[in-house]
């Protein structure tokens, strides 16, 4: 096996064959290989470019996210996978100087249309963040916050039901049912992250975006969350950004490989990890850089 070397210059590939560096730069100019598009996708994106001020972070990406599928986005740091994910529920709107162009459709509705309200969009496209970020409120209030905001429950008992079912789906109910009034910030890291997932699914979104949801968790908590993702996939469309290729292999149906803001390869997960079509993908999954 080749040794993975830390790469201080993004894109300059350090391998056992120095001559390949220029080759790889050429490879980046090629089109996405594999099957980025699917029939009747939940989310459809074409010609996506994202800029932070002068700097371009995403270059001409087109990718479909299938209904009730888990798609994993992998790639080295700074490859734009998180930026792409955050473009899907317009979280980038809050970033000063960020500009997004291209086509984004959620069930044939334009995500970036002027008449699309980002608040309404985010109620349909939920998000779970890298670091567990429960509100400094009680466990109950953490989950009930979204439904209350959107008026999903008119009576207390309905709200109680939503909270319970969300916590059950997040696999947290048994652990917290006796201490719902205690602060969510008092839970362990893994529990906090599942609480955040419960909070996201409490408003019954159609798509859940997960930005490295397990990177701050220990292996046991990670396994628990991964199980949960597999269960959620039955009802939700999930896009997950991860640094762990094992995690991508375990939880996702399809895998998209990003490199330096470009979408290099998209294929069924099994295929990406067993017979990658692109040399960069192969280099990454075999640990030659990243």
């Amino acid at each position: 096996m080749t040794t993975a070397v830390f790469d201080p210059v993004p894109g300059a590939v350090m391998t056992d064959a120095p001559g390949r560096i220029t080759e790889l730069a050429e490879l980046l100019t090629q089109r996405t290989v594999g099957t980025p598009f699917v029939d009747a996708p939940k989310v459809r994106t074409r010609n996506v470019n994202v800029y932070y001020g002068e700097k371009q972070a995403i270059f001409d990406v087109g990718l479909d996210i299938g209904r009730n599928q888990v798609i994993a986005m992998i790639g080295p740091s700074g490859c734009g996978k998180s930026t792409f994910l955050r473009a899907l529920n317009r979280m980038n709107d809050t970033v000063v100087g960020c500009r997004v162009t291209g086509e984004f459709l959620l069930d044939d509705e334009d995500i970036y249309a002027p008449k699309m309200d980002p608040v309404a969009l985010r109620a349909r496209v939920g998000m779970v963040f890298q670091k567990p970020n429960p509100f400094p409120k009680s466990i109950y209030d953490n989950v009930a916050y979204g439904p209350k905001l959107h008026g999903l429950a008119s009576r207390r008992i309905e709200l109680d039901e939503i909270v319970e079912s969300s916590l059950r789906k997040a696999g947290l109910w048994e652990e917290v049912k006796d201490r719902l009034v205690q602060p969510g910030t008092g839970l362990s890291g893994g529990q906090q992250q599942r609480l955040c997932i419960a909070r996201a699914i409490a408003i019954n979104p159609e798509v859940i975006l997960m930005d490295e949801p397990c990177s701050a968790l220990d292996p046991i908590a990670t396994a628990r969350v991964e199980e949960l993702i597999a269960e959620l996939a039955e009802n939700y469309t999930i896009a997950i950004v991860t640094h762990s290729m094992q995690q991508a292999a375990r939880v996702s149906h399809r895998t998209a490989y990003f490199h330096l803001g470009k979408l290099i390869e998209v294929n069924d997960t099994q295929m990406v990890f067993t017979s990658p079509q692109h040399e960069l993908t192969e280099a990454y999954i075999t640990g030659r850089f990243g």
Binding site: V119, Y145, L149
Partner: protein
């Protein structure tokens, strides 16, 4: 190789000694600095408390008072207007003559009368007004002694006895009273309830304290909501461009503007243009609000900035609007910091003197202010006024007022700490 290594270790060991010595020296400097600061505070407090503790006790003289209708020239004590016309000080003079026998000559009579405060007559009037049936009867009362007598009585027997304007005869009289237990130091309630007076024995900080409370109420009412609103807008909603940079620089500059300038602004704008009442707490409050506003805005912005962005993102991601994020997440988390900033700003305003001089709150005001538009003064200005007065008895009043002001300050700072702890401990 081994030889080289050993020498490296030795070099390190030698330098370690030097480094530890330097560290000890460094820590000593810090300790000295702290000690110096503590010493300064201790010196200040001993001086103030040493001078001011006397202000809370006042010399009283016990005299039997006969409410003589003839001497007063009053027949009907139930009519308030008739009551006002009475010469009550005459009752005091009569009582003094009765106690010490007839004195020879006007000068001696004046000295005898000067034992008791000119305010004693008002005390008698107040008693008679409350109980008209007292007219024609007698009672033994503790009456306020004159400030010169008070100053001498307090320093009596001490290492630096201060006779000042007290004559030998007066000293003898008071000494004879003291033998009978008819002169004593009693708790000076007047100091806390009364307004200013030309007579030190009657002067109190009640008026100034009330004026301070009214003024600070206006300041808090204006500075806190406006400051917080400005901070929220600048932090959460304002676009980051040249204009907001300009505003930010100006807020920082305003925080550094000498407060007397704000007083001149108050004079020019609020008194001359808006015709607001001079010397009034409402005006003082507005001016002090301007003085503290930059501080409140800056501390509120810092408090908002310290709210972790992950909380904002979490709320946005479940579909909260910008306003909902601010109201239900950012504000509650920033509140302890904002409150601390506001209270420290208030403490700053509490000690502020210069701008209030400019808007007439330095006037000599005897009455305790009844409302926001009545003439008033505030504690620091009262201290300034008393420190400027020639009477020896005002020295202890000044220090007494400083003690009260410091107590107020300590209370407010303690409140800031308690509030922060209480609000932060919730989670």
């Amino acid at each position: 190789m081994t030889e080289h290594k050993a020498s490296t270790a030795e070099i390190i060991r030698a330098s370690l000694k030097r480094r530890y010595r330097a560290e000890r020296r460094f820590r000593l400097y810090g300790l000295l600095a702290v000690c110096f600061g503590l010493l300064a505070v201790l010196l200040l407090l001993t001086d103030i408390i040493g001078k001011g503790h006397g202000a809370f006790r006042q010399t009283y003289v016990q005299l039997p008072i006969h409410y003589d209708p003839e001497l007063l020239g009053i027949g009907d004590a139930t009519d308030p207007e008739t009551l006002m016309r009475g010469d009550y000080q005459a009752l005091v003079r009569q009582a003094l003559r009765a106690r010490f026998g007839e004195v020879s000559g006007r000068a001696e009579a004046r000295e005898l009368n000067a034992l008791v405060s000119d305010g004693a007559g008002y005390e008698l009037l107040a008693r008679l007004r409350a109980r008209p049936a007292l007219l024609g009867t007698s009672e033994t009362l503790w009456l306020l002694a004159d400030d010169d007598v008070d100053t001498w009585f307090k320093s009596r027997g001490g290492s630096n006895e201060f006779t000042g304007r007290v004559s030998e005869r007066q000293i003898a009289w008071v000494a004879s009273l003291a033998e009978q237990g008819e002169v004593a130091l009693r708790f000076n309630a007047n100091f806390f309830t009364r307004g200013d007076s030309r007579e030190p024995e009657e002067a109190g900080i009640g008026g100034a304290a009330k004026g301070t409370l009214l003024t600070l109420a206006i300041t808090l009412l204006l500075a806190f909501p406006i400051g917080v609103a400005a901070a929220i807008y600048l932090e959460e909603f304002a676009p980051k461009n040249r204009w907001t940079d300009f505003i930010e620089v100006n807020i920082n500059n305003l925080a550094a503007v000498p407060s007397v300038i704000f007083g001149l602004l108050g004079l020019a704008v609020f008194i001359n243009f808006f015709q607001m009442p001079r010397s009034a707490p409402v005006l003082g409050g507005v001016v002090l609000a301007l003085v503290t506003l930059p501080t409140v805005i800056i501390s509120s912005r810092a408090a908002i900035k310290s709210v972790p962005p992950s909380i904002r993102e979490a709320a946005l991601a479940v579909g909260a609007s910008k306003m909902q994020v601010v109201l239900s997440h950012v504000l509650p988390l920033a509140m302890p910091g904002m409150l601390t900033g506001a209270i420290l700003g208030m403490a700053h305003a509490l000690g502020e003197t210069a701008p209030l001089l400019m808007i007439g709150m330095v006037a000599f005001i005897v009455d305790v202010p009844g409302g926001f538009t009545e003439s008033a003064t505030v504690l620091p200005v009262q201290i300034f006024l008393w420190a400027d007065s020639p009477e020896r008895a005002f020295v202890e009043k000044t220090s007494g007022a400083i003690m009260v002001l410091l107590a107020f300050l300590t209370l407010m700072n303690a409140l800031a700490v308690v509030l922060r702890k209480r609000l932060e401990r919730r989670w």
